[in-house]
Subunit: 201 residues, 2 copies
């Protein structure tokens, strides 16, 4: 009776262990961007719990840039955690990495002797994906203010050329993420054609 109970219990344990999720080197990380066969990307629902790279004010030149005379936008950049950890070790982005650009409004305080800018509501979400299945290996996505899956922007979009020509590491503006730029310099992954302090064309 006891022996039977142990065997049943061991069998249950074996089944439980056998069904535990395992990540092999070949499988993409569980937080990798979810692309469909046609390159469409799912909205990254939990990006606010990803790794924060840096923020800027008035740095939004893309499809959601504010019209002339409108208040500037804050831009917060996030990346999926497994790719962040890989970069901090190697200075390079693994295949299947997603960067999220969270574009928020800005507001100046009302108090007379304080003049700081703080962030307000989300204006739009854009993304940049490194995935070898995409043409050229990179895709830019404009989710706007919706959370539906979207197709990559066409190769004619200015994102592609600007990121190809002006970025410090691969197609990413690591020069604006100081903690990561230090890693890239140490690991020798800064692009040979990148000049520190160069203006964006």
């Amino acid at each position: 009776m006891v022996k039977t109970a142990i065997v049943v219990w061991l069998s249950a344990l074996a089944v439980a262990l056998g069904t535990m999720p395992r990540v092999s080197a070949q499988q993409p990380a569980s937080d990798a961007p979810s692309l469909q066969a046609d390159g469409q990307a799912a909205f990254p629902d939990n990006y606010r719990e990803w790794m924060f790279l840096s923020a800027g004010l008035g740095m939004n030149y893309g499809p959601n840039a504010p019209a002339a005379g409108q208040p500037q936008s804050f831009t917060n950049v996030y990346v999926n955690p497994s790719s962040y950890r890989a970069f901090m070790k190697t200075g390079a982005w693994p295949d299947r990495t997603m960067f999220v650009l969270e574009i928020r409004g800005s507001q100046v305080e009302g108090s007379i002797n304080r003049s700081g800018y703080f962030q307000t509501g989300v204006r739009a979400i854009e993304a940049n994906v490194k995935d070898s299945r995409l043409p050229g290996g990179w895709g830019f996505y404009n989710f706007g203010n919706k959370t539906a899956a979207v197709a990559p922007l066409p190769q004619s979009a200015t994102c592609y050329t600007c990121h190809a020509e002006n970025t410090a590491v691969e197609h990413t503006f690591v020069q604006f993420y100081p903690a990561l730029m230090d890693v890239a310099k140490r690991m020798g992954t800064v692009r040979a054609d990148y000049k520190e302090g160069q203006a964006i064309r």
Copy 2:
């Protein structure tokens, strides 16, 4: 023989399970701030992997505020992940929560038709800790540009009165973290004496 092997194996398993770390409701979370008996706080080494709450420009009024005429600072606010998750469910901060204020320099681009501000190196790190063992339950810390443990600032520091009087939720400026402010409004945890849009005194 087989039976003996199973017994030995089960005993080993029991020992392994018994020594696995477990978090009870009484124990602080593993990412909670580490305070010594005298209130000294250890530097939060991995705060850049914590949850990012928001960023501001020119919002640094504390002990590391830039001198008049100096470039404004960016401020990035992080909180330990377990406290973030608790807040997103309840709209309140659990005991033993640490907020990190990462103060960075700012730089304007050189390009003639682009005028955004991006972040540069770390100028200083400050922290705000909620811990019932501290006088009044809150402590403010100035790590400066070092990573040594520091004692809380004295109760006479302006941080204490400013956070007691001008914050939307408990002693924290949740009015500057839009995603969290939405949660606080929904959960009814916004302070009764907080008026939307009020100037900081």
